[in-house]
């Protein structure tokens, strides 16, 4: 099982990446070679093993419900398009949310 052209197109859509065809041609064999590494996992006795999502077996730290004041967050300074105290984005419907 490895990534093919169709998978690549699907994944690019999911990841919201628009890349030129030349990059797709370049990436595909590279990605396929990377996925060939994954076979190494098949040599391990994985059956019945609990998956680990974390480095440590720790419990989550919780904070108190106390508000904190904020310094200037440079929103306007960093925003690509700032309008009326908000981040402005191009029209949403013509392309559709995907």
């Amino acid at each position: 099982m490895s990534i093919d052209k169709k998978d690549l197109e699907h994944v690019l859509k999911l990841a919201h990446l628009d890349i030129p065809d030349s990059e797709k041609e370049e990436f595909l064999p590279q990605l396929q070679r990377t996925f060939s590494f994954m076979k190494a996992m098949d040599s391990l006795p994985l059956e019945g093993v609990e998956p680990s999502a974390y480095a440590n077996n720790q419990a989550q730290f919780l904070r108190e419900d106390t508000p904190e004041n904020q310094a200037d967050l440079y929103m306007e300074k960093n925003a690509p398009d700032w309008d009326q105290g908000c981040f402005s984005v191009p029209q949403i419907l013509s392309g559709g949310e995907s």
Partner: protein, 485 residues
Amino acid sequence: MTEFEVVIGIEVHAQLKTKTKLFSTAANNFGDDVNTNVTPVCLGMPGALPVLNKKAVEFAITAGLALDCEINLTSVFSRKNYFYPDLPKGYQISQFDLPICGLGHLDIDVDGVTKRIGITRIHMEEDAGKLLHQGADGIAGSTHSLVDLNRAGTPLIEIVSEPDMRSASEAKAYMVALREIVQHMGVCDGNMDQGSMRADANVSIRPVGQKEFGTRAEVKNLNSFRSLERAINVEVKRQKALILSGGTVIQETRNYDDATQSTTSLRGKADAHDYRYFPEPDLPPLIVTQDWFKTIKEALPEHPVAKRERYASELGLSQFEIKVLMGDIETDTYFNAAILVNTEIAPKEICKWVVGDINALLKETESSFSKTKLSSAHLAEMVDLILKGTISGKMAKDMIGKMAETGDAPAKLVDSMGGAQISDEGALLEAVKAVLDANLDVIEKIKNGKKQAAGFLMGQVMKATKGKAKPDLVSKLIFEEVKKR
């Protein structure tokens, strides 16, 4: 013709009444200036990390306990990945595999019969920000949109029901009961028009007798009891028409528009989402210790069902009074504050005014129990004055309007309203004697058994005292004096 059965499951998002957001220390406040209640965490800044609000966990568990849910002392947060401008990180932190609460239930009243609705789960998650579409009323036709992230990160619990409801009115009853629960447990203000409680309904139909469920459509944007009821009826009608004309219902999300009273498809099957859920690596598992769990249980506010019972059995409130109090959390909060001011006063005496005259006045003036200048403390003082005989009920009715208008204390108003009621026997006896002396014929009538004639004498005494005489005392004195003559 085929008879159809309607099957409804409801997902409710309820915003928790915490001071800060779910994962950031920004204020959790509705209605402030755009992009003011934000921190680097709410903005999805590079390097910002979520840290869970302990209070939100307590609220989620409180709601779970009130709905008889199993509480998972270990639960896990996941990332739900999708792109949208109101979602700053490109993923929503939510609970997926292992939510904080599992199976529970809620009993609703359907035409006087109790019906049990299953709760599938309750999970915690963060709300998204808001988009302000420009150049049109909504997203359609807008030229661009503005992003306000004040709501981003607001703590939510999503309460998912089993598909146990069979009609729009059952769905509404469920929603009403659920709102009562979250309000009285103190976890959500239940304010539907501000969006602090939002419902999505999963609606399907199947021929009566069929075991399998039909294909469901998820109807979104149900922000009032009325729109919930209407949207379900509209959607059921659509599905019936579709099936009867040989079509099939497809699984999709539909938006309900209250203006046109119709539902429209939000997105087709083709671009079905792949949310790529995976455990949120920034947040290790949430472990609720037995000690903490015990503390939460001990601090649990009174369940609405228990409260109703107590109101009836201990406070002696009528079913009508209980219904009014429980139907609106502000009214109930006000009532409970007022009865604490002076515990000598029977709560029933206070309740009379809360559900009666004050409630009517607030409706009339488009005010509310949380906004009115008539404080619960002043109400308690006023009732005290009535019970002590300082003012009459009639005076109190006038006084309520003034208190709501000015916020003045009853004691202050007593003077400006012409002074206290005359309840001094000696003073009143003078007036009674004078009236009797001037109406000897009436005394005769009374002695001959026409007791109602005393009303005339009473009127005369009132006139003489400018209405300030304490009526029951006057009545007593009149009969005593008549007897003596």
